[in-house]
Symmetry: C2
Subunit: 491 residues, 2 copies
Amino acid sequence: MPAAFPSSDPAIPTAPLTAEMRDALRAIVGEKGLIEDEHGKRPFVTDWRGLLVGGAGAVVRPGSTEEVAKVVRLCHQHGIAIVPQGGNTGLMGGATPWPAHTGIVLSLGRMNRVLDVDPVGYTMTVEAGCVLQTLQETASRHDRFLPLSLGAQGSCMIGGNLSTNAGGVQVLRYGNARNLVLGLEVVLPSGEVWDGLRALKKDNTGYDLKHLFMGAEGTLGIITKAVLKLWPAPKDVCTAWLAIRDPRAALEILSEAHSASEDNVGSCELMSRAAVDMVLRHIPGTQDPLKADTPWYLLLEWSSARARQDGAEGMSEKMEQFLADQLEAGRVLDAVIAQTGNQSRNMWRIRESVAEASRAEGPGMSFDISVAISSIPEFIARGLEAALDILPTIRPYPLGHIGDGNLHFSFMGPSGMDQQTLAQYKGAITRAVNDLVTSLGGSISAEHGIGIDKLDELSHYRSKTELDIMRTIKRALDPQNIMNPGKVLRL
Amino acid sequence: MPAAFPSSDPAIPTAPLTAEMRDALRAIVGEKGLIEDEHGKRPFVTDWRGLLVGGAGAVVRPGSTEEVAKVVRLCHQHGIAIVPQGGNTGLMGGATPWPAHTGIVLSLGRMNRVLDVDPVGYTMTVEAGCVLQTLQETASRHDRFLPLSLGAQGSCMIGGNLSTNAGGVQVLRYGNARNLVLGLEVVLPSGEVWDGLRALKKDNTGYDLKHLFMGAEGTLGIITKAVLKLWPAPKDVCTAWLAIRDPRAALEILSEAHSASEDNVGSCELMSRAAVDMVLRHIPGTQDPLKADTPWYLLLEWSSARARQDGAEGMSEKMEQFLADQLEAGRVLDAVIAQTGNQSRNMWRIRESVAEASRAEGPGMSFDISVAISSIPEFIARGLEAALDILPTIRPYPLGHIGDGNLHFSFMGPSGMDQQTLAQYKGAITRAVNDLVTSLGGSISAEHGIGIDKLDELSHYRSKTELDIMRTIKRALDPQNIMNPGKVLRL
C-alpha cells in the first residue's frame, strides 16, 4: 500500500461483485457503461496526485439519474460499496477507493448535459458530470457569470465540486461552491432519488438537505443534478500586483478595498516571494510583474458588472486612487496595474501555476488551513517558526486566499533532500501546524476536504460530540455504509 | 382549541413536570429564571398573532450556555419536552407550544450579550437572545453592516432568526439568515454542547452541521451563540419609487439593475396599488410617494460602501440614468428618487407597515410563497385568477421580495365579511394557491417556515422521500422527540 494511505484500514463493506451482479449492472448501463479490465479501471482507482491506488470490482458509468438510481438500488440490495467520482481531481483521495474496496467506482462523467439556462432568473440547471470550465463558458455565452474558479477547472466536474464544497479564487466575493447552489437532485444510499432540484432563492420548508449533501464528499448520497446561481458578467475588470509591507498590511488593504471598490473586490491573493520564484523557475512564459525584491505580494482584482462609461470613473481609476492612498499609508511598497489582457493573464498564471510548479520542484508538503482573517499574520509567524524549528532547512512558500482566512501553507523540501527523508519530518510538522491551527480556532482543511488523507487528523482535532453527530447522521442515512465508505469519518 | 391549530394533534411527549423536576430546574436557573404562574407564562405560550395559545409546565430562562445545557440534560433524562423560544415573533407558531405540552418553554432572552466585534475580520460573536436591532446598531457603531433586516427587528432575537433562517428585505444582495453565519454553538437534545463557534469563512472538515440547525426551527437543538458575518457600512444609498408597467417589467428592471448599479442593488420590493392604499389608509403619517394611479410599484434601493466622491458619479446619478433608460424602454411609467432621509424613510415605511395595516384592515389571508424568479408574472396572473374564482369579492394586495422570487400573496376579505365566513373559503384558496406553487416548482413557505401552521401542508406537498430523510435525521438526533415536538414534521 502506498505510504499516503493511513496505517489502519477503516471498516468498509467487502462483498464482492459476483458474475450475476456484473450482468445486472451491464443490463442497466450497457456495455459501454461498464469497465472491468485492469487497464481501463486504472485511471479511476488512481488519485490525481498519483499517490493513492485503490481497488474496484468495476467502474460503472451511468448515463442518467435513472441509471444511477438503478445501480445504487442494486448495490444497496447486495451490500456492495460505491465510490462516486467526478473529474477525479481532488487532492485528499476522496474519490479514490481504498485498496480493499471490492465494489464499484461510479463515474458521473457521462452525465454532462446543461439542461437549462435562465438568464433573467440568473440560474442554470446542469448534470453532475459537466466539466466546470464548460459551465463557465456556457454562462458567459448568456452574458452571465458562474463564479466558481479553480486550478482544475478544465477537468473537474460540477458534481465533485459540490460534493466537496470546492473553494477557489472567487470565494471572497461569491462564497464557496455551496453558496452557488439553489437546488440539488441526489441519489440516496437506498437508491431512492431526492428531487430537491428547485430554482428557489428562498425555501424554508423543513431541514436544508442540500447543505448536508454538499461537503459530504459522496458519503451520504450521489449528487446527480444541480440548479446553480449565476451573476452578471464582469464588464470592467482591473487586476493589480502589489508588493506589500507584510501579511498584516494585506489584511488592512483588503479591509479598505471593500468600500474603495464599492464592494467590487473579486480576488485578493497573498503570495510569498518564494512562491513567485518557484513559478518563475518552472513555468515557461511567466514573468515577474514587478521588479521588487520584497517578501510579500498581493494579487488584487476588482471587477464590476457595469461597463466603463465615457467620462465616468471606472475600476482602474478607483484602483489607481486606492493604490496611491495605500502607498502613502506605507502598506503598499510598489504596485502595477495590468494594462493589457496579457499582463492580467500573466499575474493570474503565476497564482494558478503554483501547484504545477511545486510538482516540478520536487518533494514538499502543503497544509490547506484557515483561521479567522484577523489571525492570519499571527498564524504565519508562529507556523513558520514551528516548522523551521523541526527542520531548519525546509523552504516555505506560503500563499493563499487571504480574504477567506485560507492559507496554502506550503513547503519545499530542503535542497537535495529526497521524498523518503522528508517524509520522516512530515508527521511532526503536520502535528505542529495543525495544533497551532486548532489553538487559533481554525480549520485543518479549509477547502480541500477530508477524503482519505485527513481521516485521522479529523478524528484527532474534532470533538467527540462533533464526530458523534456526523456519525449519527451517516449511520441514519447509510446504515449499510455502502456510500463512499472509509472517507471523511471512521465509523 | 383555537381554530388555527391543525385538527389532529401530533405525537408529543407528555411527561409532566414533577415537583422534583421543578426544584432541579430552579437549582440551575435560580428563582428569577423560572416562571410557573399562569399570568407570567401567558406571553410565552401565546403566539405573536394571538391565534395560538399553548400549554407549558413552566417557562425556563437560562442565563448561559452552561445553564441551557444543564436544563436540557435534565429534560433529556426525564423525557420532558422543550419548546425553545427567542423573541416569539414568528408567524407560523414554531415557538408556541401545543396545548397538550406539559414540558417547558426555554426562553433565550436572558442570553443577550455581544461577545466580540472584529471590524477587520468583519465578524461579530453574539448570544442567541440578542435583539436583532441591537446587533444592527452594534455593527453600525463599528462602521460595519449586519444586513439582516425585517419588520420584527425591534423585538425578534438572533437565535430565532437563525433557527428559522429568517429572510427580510436584504436577501437579494446578502442572502437569507443562514448566509450571514460563520459558526454556531448549539445545545443538542442530549444536553451536550456542540462547539461550532468558528469564525471561519472556509472549513471543509466533514458535514456542515450549522446549516442543519439553521432552518430546523429548534427541532434538532437550541442555538445558543453565533459568529455573524459583517459587511462594510453603506455610505451612499439611493432609494427610488417606481410606477411600473407590470410584474414582468419588474423582473426586467431588476435584471438590468444589477449591472447598471455595479452589483449594488440592495432591495427590490414589488407592491400592488392595493397594498399601498391599505397602508395609506391605516398608518398615520405615510404619504404616497408618487401620484400615479397604476396597479404596480417597485421600491428600488441601491447602496454602495463607498462614500460619494467629489465630482464623481454616485448612486443617485447612476440611478437617474438608469430610470431614464427604463422610462424610455416603457418598463417604468413614472418614478421618483428620494431626495431626503425623510422621503426614503416614508418609502420604506409603506413597505414595512403592510403587516400592521393588514391587521387594522380586518380579516384576511396571506401566503408566503416562492417560485423561480422568471415564473413570478405567471404565478401572479394564475394565482389571482384561482383565488377570485373561489371568492370573486376577495380583495388581493400582492407584494413581495421579487428578486428572491418571494411573494407575500395576500388578500383582504370582501368588505363586510367576518372572519368566520372568510375562514370557510380559506381551505379551498390555500389548496389552489399551493397547488399552483407546487406545479411551478415553488415553495409553500419561502421565509416564514413551517412551525405549527404549515405542518399538514408540508406533509401534503413534499415527497415521501424528502419527508423520510427529514424524519430519519430528526429521529437520529432526537430519539425521544423532546426538542420542539410537533413542529415542522409529524413523526
